[in-house]
């Protein structure tokens, strides 16, 4: 049985805003699955429906076999969520927040005590956990929230933009923590992010989300392989579509080449980088020529016509 099953899931908010437009995906037990897309793509709404805080307009979703609409308590019992914004009792200590989660998820006191002790060590909360949360920095609070979500040993863990708003050092530390969670083979993780490196580093598979739709779903490697090993980027002076047509006629570019504004991106097929640069230079099309390895941003750009970083 899949840990997460989503079929035809759709959400239209009052006022007609279609946040999620009928998405399908399955996540296997132990898999780390990423929803990659800019703000407003529908990622958080999808997590909201899976955690039963957003009512689906249509479609179905199951966590561990439990239908989130018909069996919400069972679905919530096997899952935990780390929210995008801080969601903690700031007036209470970190330990009290952890204990509260354990009680609400009905973890046996002895098991909860041991588990909290383990998580305090693992997440480096030893010096913090008996202070009130209002004194924590953003990174410390986020570590506490991750620890809290793990207290009940969930079968499914939702991480909604877990590193957003954190400084680079803290973000790097948290990525290490989340990468460490992969060691728990029995835990399935659904992660939303608009950071490409995060998705590429952490996820077994990625669904690229754009305007409420999943436009691609595969492993990071397979998504990148779709653009070959290397690509050429050039800025053209005239009409980019005309320049692209010339490159295709010369068999330098294939169907997977694309233009955004005055920039052409051409995955190299059957040409070495030096050969392609020489051929393109000979045509006199480009002002600036560069070659580089493809990134998930190129995948996103090709699929949506938008740069992920700019859209985020």
């Amino acid at each position: 049985m899949n840990a997460i099953e989503v079929h035809g899931l759709r959400k239209t908010y009052p006022g007609g805003v279609e946040a999620v437009r009928g998405i399908d995906f399955d996540v296997a037990p132990g898999e780390v699955f990423g929803l990659l897309g800019p703000n407003g793509a529908g990622k958080s709404t999808t997590i909201g429906m899976l955690t039963t805080t957003v009512a689906p307009t249509a479609g179905s979703a199951r966590l561990g076999g439990f239908d989130v609409s018909r069996e919400p308590l069972e679905a919530r019992r096997i899952s935990s969520v780390v929210f995008q914004d801080p969601v903690v009792d700031r007036a209470l200590t970190g330990r009290r927040n952890l204990e509260l989660h354990a009680r609400l998820w009905r973890v046996e006191p002895a098991a909860a005590h041991a588990r909290i002790g383990e998580l305090i060590d693992v997440l480096g909360l030893g010096g913090l956990v008996d202070r009130t949360v209002s004194t924590y920095s953003g990174g410390e609070r986020r570590r506490l929230e991750i620890a809290r979500a793990l207290v009940s040993a969930p079968r499914v863990l939702f991480l909604d933009e877990p590193t957003v708003g954190l400084d680079p050092r803290v973000r790097h530390e948290l990525l290490d923590v989340i990468a460490g969670l992969r060691e728990r083979s029995e835990m399935t993780i659904l992660l939303t992010t608009h950071y490409l490196d995060e998705a590429e580093r952490l996820c077994d598979r990625i669904a690229i989300v754009h305007a409420g739709n999943i436009v691609a779903l595969d492993t990071p490697r397979a998504l990148l392989d779709g653009l070959g090993n290397e690509l050429v980027e050039l800025r053209v002076e005239g009409e980019p579509e005309a320049a692209l047509a010339v490159l295709r006629a010369e068999r330098i570019a294939g169907d997977d080449a694309f233009s955004v504004g005055s920039t052409l991106t051409v995955p190299l097929r059957g040409h070495g980088a030096a050969e392609a640069l020489a051929l393109i230079g000979g045509l006199g099309l480009g002002q600036t020529l560069t070659t580089r390895r493809p990134t998930l941003d190129d995948v996103y750009l090709r699929l949506t016509g938008d740069r992920l970083a700019a859209a985020a």
């Binding site: 069972e74 700031r90 009905r106 046996e108 693992v122 009940s152 040993a153 079968r155 992969r182 060691e183």
Partner: protein, 279 residues
Amino acid sequence: MTAIAPTLPLSRRRAPMAGLAPLATLARRRFQLTTRTPRELVVPLLTPIMFALVIAPALKEALHASISYESFVAVGTIGLLIPLNTMFAGLGVIVDRESGAQRELLAAPVPRALLVVGNLLVALATTALQVVVLIGAARARGIEFDASAVHIWWFIGAATLFAIGMYGTAETLASRVPKQEEYIARVPAIAILPWFLAGALFPITALPTFLHWVSRCLPLTHGLALMRYGLLGDSSGLHAIWGMSDPTAMAALSLGVVALFATALMAVSIRVFTRAAMR
């Protein structure tokens, strides 16, 4: 920081009274949050104590009223204390939603109605504490009460049911308004305005006929009449509402009105909260 070691699934509690455990946890959480903000306990007490201990004796002197007027107003101020305290308690719901752990609670495997009931239990406990403090302060000031072992239950029933209804009102309002500022702006109309019409400072028979009818429809009027019946043995407030001769029958009718108010407002508050929780 290191990777988390694999662990076996944790054992879950299966106690006979397991259904009450989440409610106790939620109430305990709310209690801990409340005790960390002592102003929530103290501020609602200030105005009623001022009325009971300062303004009522001053009015008695100025109007040459009898000693029982102080007792009359002391019970009347409970009708101000309960709405003020429950409305303050409702603010906690907005704080939870804006900057607290409400979404974590909504993602927890507990029925969402329990979140409202857990808050209610703490609001009732703090209200009870404040009522005891107010009565104790009034007694210390020399104000007399005349409660029998039987009549006191009318007082307890009326105060409890009225507090439940008022907390339902507070929770409903907190679920419907987006900001604390908007919530606070509505508090005087809900918590204070009815107090002037409900016979807190003078019998409702002193009101013009139209307002007298309005007053008889207010749950607070029934609550105050019952509380005076319970704490002072004075059934004149009940008579002013019902016009009957049997105090017990009138008290039962008024208790029914307050119970209806409590049931309806709690049902509405749970419905509004659970609907607001689902976007």
